[in-house]
Symmetry: C2
Subunit: 512 residues, 2 copies
């Protein structure tokens, strides 16, 4: 018997088996907007009410529902409900500028747009057929609690469940179509490789829009773990939540854990979660010194994964093996600084040019309305990650260079070309190259190298202010350096390799 | 991207990631036949050599390879290799009589037949195009170590991987087609729900032929756990293996754990695996007293599952929830005596007549060469388990009555109709009904109620000896009772319900 692999499997099981259990504890900092604590039964009931509301609004199967929001219980329930209702959810990065959000809403053809009240002003100019502020307004508009709610939709497992826009090498973000099957396989293998269970309490230190919180919120529902929402990332607050809710599991970019480490250094007494909490890190491999500090100073188990939005994201996982238990912490940290080994059913290999190619059911269905980009990314059954790397004999992938012009800063992908466009729009700029420069806090720091036009002047602050008016804050260069020229290849392509070289030790590894 | 879900995913990952780790420790009791300890790399290498050997023999994609064997490393590697090579493995119950094995070999159209040397004599009359004794003979015939072995085959995920013959309500066993997708979903969700990891050491207390060891051997390879073979089930030997190999995980019928409990009662000193080993029980729900004894006397974690060969088998799982930790052991045992909650993606419901119906990707592709039986078993997208039961508000399934005339004794399915046929073939028997009677050791004990023909005589021993000459020992009645008549319905159907009633307390639950 074949039954489609669907996102509804996760929330269905949570409702049936863990109906009385707290499914989510919402952010308490804004009591008026918080949903408080919801059981999985309530989450599922609200989810089906959203399905009924979309039915009533006339939003058809396969139509897009976009949401721009910080982490919240409402975003969580939409991630459960919208794909399970047969529509496509478009979770948008809340850090993007209005113009960028407008592009995504337009490109995805979103018929419904839901906006975090905190972003109301900045996104006021964006229109949609149905636009609601997240909270009471969206509840009133979308939730229809019917006496006999219909069961979840049953789309094909290859139908698109979410559209996640990601910055690539081009100026405009691309819409990554993640299918129900993608999400199912990702979430189940992730839960399996991390031994998630109903004894876990999962703290959302990862932006939920980010490839759907890496799919871990589906894993949590599938095994009956409780979700704890955290809206603004702050080291001390993370430690407080870990203590208050008995958090056992969290995931996020290296920058998050640096904040937790800093906060822990200020803390008197025992570290919450010591010997119990395990964390999963990705976005950029942190220095092995950070890994060692997580294990010794926090007493949390360090796990690394490697993945992309286009891969749902789980490609490889580096989990402490039994053999590591006997090692000195530095040696263990070195082993854990690799990207890891492929998850079940995923294959990785290195192309002749040194690029990591992958194959498996976590690879996206394609780029939305962009067959050319899809064909370029997936060739002969292998997805081209754009990252350079190596695979050792034990199957461990190590990332050595990012092939695409993408900077990963604080766990966010930034297209260097997009930033270059914005810098170049300043009238004094003649030439620009934007690169990532190693940074303990951000992993990579967006840095612009600028050649000024003849007779023109501009300061670092002026250029930063100019870009900030156009792009999200995290995309704005943190530093601008002025140069006499920018090295180019004979065909005129900027030699970013050379530019990065001066910032990177030994020049061996050009991503952080 | 869609990539087929295949059995080769498991052994591939074990080879790549855990190549140096011991994949299997073979039974040591027969040194001449034992493969000793093999790493996953060696297991994978031998598996591809089997693929090459089958290629050379001209065994085509989709052809059947049958094997009749006690648990062994060679049976394990065939379970990995044959489906991954694109052929269909037919693992046959080693307890069956020659005539029954012959039927299965014939019905499945097996081109290759592999026989445990211990069964050489009893199965000598069965012929096949290629017949080999398992061991050196089968290694010589099948293993072709090539310099450049071809990669595993890539059949469709809906292709049949194994054919597992099971006794149903009819006299002849039916061939259950388990697809690659069935096995993949079963093994991954099983591993997820049991939190299996590369720190596990898995003892094969379950017959490997039995729906492929419940698929747990694929789970083990997928996460890098070590398999420990045990050939003959003996309580003291189980405890010794748990101690010697640091076993953390095992599965089997209730009878197995009764043996371990008996052996533990004789043991001086600490129980091996105390506080570490978890066991999974199915086949028949054991009395809650047994569950409590496993937790207190062995200190092993008790888990129950419910499933059938037709469901790969994982339907429901009952794993101790965090909430149970605070309960008295008797209360916990009562909760654990339920069949459990559906695994991810599986749905269960109760039909109007009280039968448990299930739906999910673990349900078989169909019965081999038997479309009528398939259509009868799967109706409107639901598989009819033949078991009566209830589902409570928390989603927990409890089995209350077996609808089909199947007796489960010592974890084996016995068709009562098949046994009735054999009893009836005794010339003195006029009428017979075979039922399961509750038994602490066997779960249910095969019991024949016999009406003798006018003027004929026969003793209990004579009838048992007569059946034993025709059927496997476990199918032979353990008791024969003589009656004046057998109650029948108006249409002439035996009222087994009434017959069972006198043997079962309170008449509430008619399966053990």
């Amino acid at each position: 018997m074949r039954v489609p692999l669907l996102t509804s499997d996760f929330i269905d099981r949570a409702e049936l088996v863990y109906g009385d259990r707290i499914g989510v504890i919402d952010e308490p900092d804004q009591p008026a907007r918080s949903l408080g604590s919801l059981t999985y039964r309530e989450l599922a009931r609200r989810g089906r009410a959203i399905q009924a509301g979309l039915d009533e609004l006339g939003i058809g199967v396969g139509d897009r529902v976009a949401i721009v929001s910080h982490n919240s219980a409402r975003l969580l329930e939409l991630l459960y409900a919208v794909p399970s209702s047969g529509r496509i959810l478009v979770p948008v990065n809340f850090r993007l500028q209005a113009e960028e959000v407008a592009y995504i809403a337009e490109h995805s053809g979103a018929r419904v747009l839901l906006v975090d009240p905190e972003l109301e002003t900045s996104l006021s100019a964006i229109s949609a057929e149905h636009k609601f502020l997240l909270g009471e307004e969206s509840d009133d508009a979308l939730l229809r609690f019917e006496a006999q709610p219909r069961p979840w939709s049953e789309p094909d497992e290859d139908a698109t469940a979410t559209l996640n826009y990601t910055s690539g090498t081009t100026a405009r973000p691309k819409g990554v179509q993640l299918t129900h099957r993608n999400i199912w396989i990702n979430s189940v293998t992730f839960a399996m490789h991390m031994q998630m269970s109903d004894r876990d309490v999962y703290l959302h230190t990862l932006p939920q829009f980010h490839c759907n919180g890496w799919g871990l919120l589906y894993s949590a529902a599938g095994v009956g773990a409780t979700n704890v929402i955290i809206r603004k990332i702050d080291g001390a607050e993370i430690l407080r939540r870990v203590e208050k809710h008995g958090v056992t599991f969290a995931a996020g970019a290296p920058a998050v854990w640096n904040m937790a480490l800093d906060a822990a250094a200020q803390l008197d007494g025992e570290i919450p979660g010591h010997g119990r909490t395990r964390i999963v890190v990705a976005g950029a491999p942190p220095p092995s010194r950070t890994i060692a500090r997580v294990e010794t100073e926090l007493g949390w188990e360090f796990n690394q994964i490697y993945g992309l939005t286009e891969t749902t994201p789980l490609l490889t996982v580096n989990r402490p093996r039994a053999e590591y238990d006997e090692l000195a912490v530095e040696d263990k940290a070195t082993l854990l600084s690799r990207a890891g080994v492929p998850g079940l059913g995923t294959r990785a290999k290195i192309s002749d040019s040194g690029e990591i190619l992958v194959r498996g059911n976590v690879v996206m269905g394609g780029y939305w309305d962009n067959p050319d980009a899809t064909d370029e990314a997936i060739q002969d059954g292998w997805f081209h990650t754009g990252d350079g790397g190596t695979v050792d004999e034990g199957g461990y992938v190590t990332i050595s260079d990012r092939k695409k012009d993408v900077i990963i800063t604080g766990g966010e992908n930034v297209s260097s070309i997009e930033v270059e466009d914005a810098v170049f729009s300043h009238p004094s700029v003649a030439e620009v190259a934007v690169i990532g420069v190693p940074d303990d806090r951000w992993g990579e720091k967006v840095t612009a190298l600028v050649v000024l036009a003849d007779g023109q002047t501009a300061t670092e602050d002026e250029i930063i202010a100019h870009v900030k008016s156009k792009l999200a804050g995290y995309k704005t260069p943190k530093a601008v350096e002025f140069r006499e020229d920018i090295p180019r290849t004979s065909t005129g392509k900027i030699q970013k390799f050379k530019l990065r070289q001066e910032f990177w030790e030994a020049g061996q590894r050009q991503v952080n």
